[in-house]
């Protein structure tokens, strides 16, 4: 069963490399933010799969924390580009 997890992890890394093109060369800042959001959500699943490969359950806690941080980062960047400030004083 570990071969399946290895294959899925390699597929996820391949899609991350494909998305990295849009993160580096994407025209405009919105394409780059979208690509960073996509890469962040792929890394969550990659952490879960790595936890099943090494048989260490603590990777799932790390992936939960990473999901929350990635969502907050995306929301803050979108809000900053929309209004020009993060929060009003």
């Amino acid at each position: 069963m570990i071969e399946t997890f290895l294959a899925i992890g390699m597929v996820i890394i391949f899609t991350i490399l494909l998305s990295l093109y849009r993160l580096v060369l994407g025209p405009g800042v919105f394409n780059q933010i979208a690509a960073s959001n996509v890469i962040g959500t792929k890394v969550i699943v990659l952490l879960v799969v790595i936890g099943f490969i090494f048989e260490r359950p603590m990777f799932i806690d790390i992936s939960l924390l990473y999901a929350a941080l990635n969502f907050i980062a995306t929301l803050l960047m979108a809000r900053y580009l929309e209004r020009g400030e993060i929060c009003k004083a």
């Binding site: 597929v11 933010i33 969550i44 699943v45 799969v49 799932i60 969502f71 929301l75 580009l81």
Partner: protein, 104 residues
């Protein structure tokens, strides 16, 4: 492989297919809005399918509860982030792509 492992493998293979489809859409579509249209749905479904495959492989334990919470979180949060980015782009004044224009 047991029967449960085969079901988990089928779920994870479906998730990998959806993730490859989303990455191809992110690379190939002509506009920002169409790119987010591809990734916002395909990536959500693919990631949730892979996590469901891990849940089926794990069986009943406390880890399954954590993975269920993670999949529900992704199901709610990922379309919300996509909507926030898209609304920011629309308010800022990025025009949608029309047929016949150059790719952006």
């Amino acid at each position: 492989m047991q029967g449960v492992d085969i079901i988990a493998t089928v779920f994870m293979a479906g998730g990998a297919f959806f993730m490859i489809t989303g990455a191809a859409g992110l690379l190939r579509f002509p506009d920002f809005y169409t790119r987010l249209h591809a990734t916002g749905k395909c990536d959500t479904l693919g990631e949730v399918l892979i996590i469901v495959g891990c849940m089926i492989y794990q069986g009943w334990s406390f880890l399954t509860l954590k993975l269920l919470f993670l999949s529900l979180f992704i199901f709610i949060v990922n379309p919300t982030g996509t909507h926030a980015i898209m609304k920011a782009a629309y308010v800022t004044g990025l025009k949608p792509w029309k047929k016949g224009e150059a790719r952006r």
